[in-house]
């Protein structure tokens, strides 16, 4: 059996893993709590989006907490292993002393020995997620309610019973700007998890030449450790990053869909509003107002139907979106169960 090991490299990599854990990973956990777990403004037609957003945040934080614990275990085991190698070397040295060599005392020798791995490892992945800029997307809706319909709503309501203002305001409590904000937050998480993945892989590249024993498929500790890093931890963080990326795309898709629908609603409402004002003027200028009253009622009723239909469409889309996120979380959890390793490294406890 051939063996080459420099315990300082094991300790160096352990430090790097701890730096990833206490630096990059801790930063991402805090970022997720601060920015992705903020569902302010998701009311009205966007209410169904709350639950899946909460589930996705919880899923991500659970994974990150599991990763935190697992990385502690990795670093501890590396240090422990380095200590075992040191003690074995010390024991061998002591044994050789008994055969007559007048070497320096073991303790002096080891204490004086500078770390051979100094500077070879990184100080952890550099992660500084940028807080998303929250931009409320309710400007158009509020302009529609207050500007377009606001001043004639009282008359319309008194005549026809339809409260267009209140109906439009239902859209004003669901701010799809928040969905976009959360999505951008997950985009930052994606980059952060990928950075950790890269950093772990690079650290393993540094360690590998300094810790070899046996050949391929020998089941040696060095081989087992490398496999754990390359086949479980690196893909695990990559998959987590990809999950965040998929979620960001989902958030963006929902926000775009909402914006598209509201944009159409604004266009159509402006069309009806002009017609309604025109007929209202006729109602006030004609001696025989009866011939315009039917048209007025019809226009208001049609606009009302458009608003009701829009609310229904948005609700349906949000529910559909909710189902998508549930599907995604279920799939991720399924992967977690199926594949030993990969996600299992993030399992807590």
């Amino acid at each position: 059996m051939s063996m080459q090991v420099d315990p300082d490299y094991l300790r160096g990599y352990a430090e790097q893993i701890e730096a990833d854990r206490d630096g990059a990973l801790a930063t991402l956990q805090q970022f997720c709590r601060e920015h992705c777990d903020n569902r302010d403004g998701l009311d009205g037609t966007l209410w169904p989006a709350r639950a899946p957003l909460e589930v996705m945040v919880e899923f991500t934080l659970n994974m990150a907490a599991g990763a935190h614990a697992g990385m502690s275990s990795l670093a501890y085991n590396l240090r422990y292993s380095a200590g075992l190698y040191d003690r074995a070397e010390q024991a061998n040295t002591a044994t050789m002393e008994t055969v007559g060599q007048r070497w320096a005392t073991v303790d002096e020798s080891w204490e004086a020995h500078p770390s051979s791995a100094g500077g070879a490892f990184t100080g952890g992945a550099q992660v500084s997620p940028a807080p998303p800029a929250f931009e409320s997307a309710l400007g158009d809706v509020e302009a529609l309610a207050h500007g377009t319909i606001g001043d004639i709503n009282g008359v319309i309501k008194a005549l026809t019973g339809f409260d267009l203002f209140s109906k439009i305001m239902e859209f004003a409590v669901g701010d799809w700007g928040r969905v976009r904000y959360i999505g951008e937050g997950f985009g930052e998480l994606e980059h952060g998890f990928r950075a950790i993945s890269r950093d772990l892989a690079q650290g393993m590249d540094v360690l590998a030449p300094h810790w070899t024993s046996g050949g391929h498929h020998s089941g040696s500790p060095a081989e087992l450790f490398e496999e754990t890093i390359r086949q479980r931890w690196v893909p695990g963080f990559d998959a987590l990053a990809q999950g965040c990326n998929a979620f960001q795309q989902e958030c963006e898709a929902l926000a775009q869909s909402y914006g598209y629908i509201i944009g159409s609603l604004v266009f159509v409402t402006n069309f009806y509003e002009k017609k309604i004002r025109r007929v209202l003027a006729l109602l006030l200028s004609a001696t025989d107002w009866r011939k315009y009253l039917g048209t007025f009622f019809r226009l208001v009723k049609e606009l009302w139907d458009v608003l009701v239909g829009t609310a229904k469409l948005i609700w349906e889309q949000t529910v559909m979106w909710k189902e998508q996120i549930e599907f995604m979380c279920t799939s991720l959890a399924h992967m977690y169960k199926i594949f030993r390793g990969d996600f299992e490294v993030f399992q807590q406890g």
């Binding site: 001043d151 009282g154 086949q231 893909p235 990559d238 200028s285 889309q317 599907f327 799939s331 991720l332």
Partner: protein, 122 residues
């Protein structure tokens, strides 16, 4: 089989299915928009109600014409007159008249003839 390639394969499958659903959502929104536009176009094809904007209703107060001119100049709006929320003396006088006219309209809409007109059960 395990590792990155398999995980990425599954993530790819998830993304594929999500993309399919996203397309369905988008399609629903596009169809809805087309329906709205079709309705608007149908409306535009109908002849306008050619009311006479310059007319003065027979029962209108003398201030009516002045108010109408102020509205045309952007000094007042019908909404202000209708709500009575104006300091304009002419506007306030016409408001009393519009209030009465609105009441007539409400009464008419509640009558069997009015309900029939708007398609509600009598």
């Amino acid at each position: 089989m395990s590792g990155m390639s398999e995980i990425l394969g599954i993530m790819g499958e998830i993304e594929h299915r999500l993309r399919g659903r996203r397309d369905a959502m988008q399609q629903a929104a596009v169809e809805w928009r087309h329906q709205l536009h079709a309705r608007i176009e149908a409306y535009d094809r109908e002849p306008d109600d050619d009311g006479d904007d310059d007319a003065v209703p027979a029962d209108a107060p003398p201030e009516y014409r002045a108010v109408r001119d102020k509205i045309a100049r952007g000094e007042l709006t019908w909404a202000e007159v209708l709500s009575g929320q104006t300091d304009d003396p002419d506007g306030r006088k016409v408001h009393v008249w519009t209030d009465a006219r609105m009441q007539q309209m409400r009464d008419y809409l509640r009558s069997p003839e009015g309900r029939r007109m708007v398609g509600e059960p009598e």
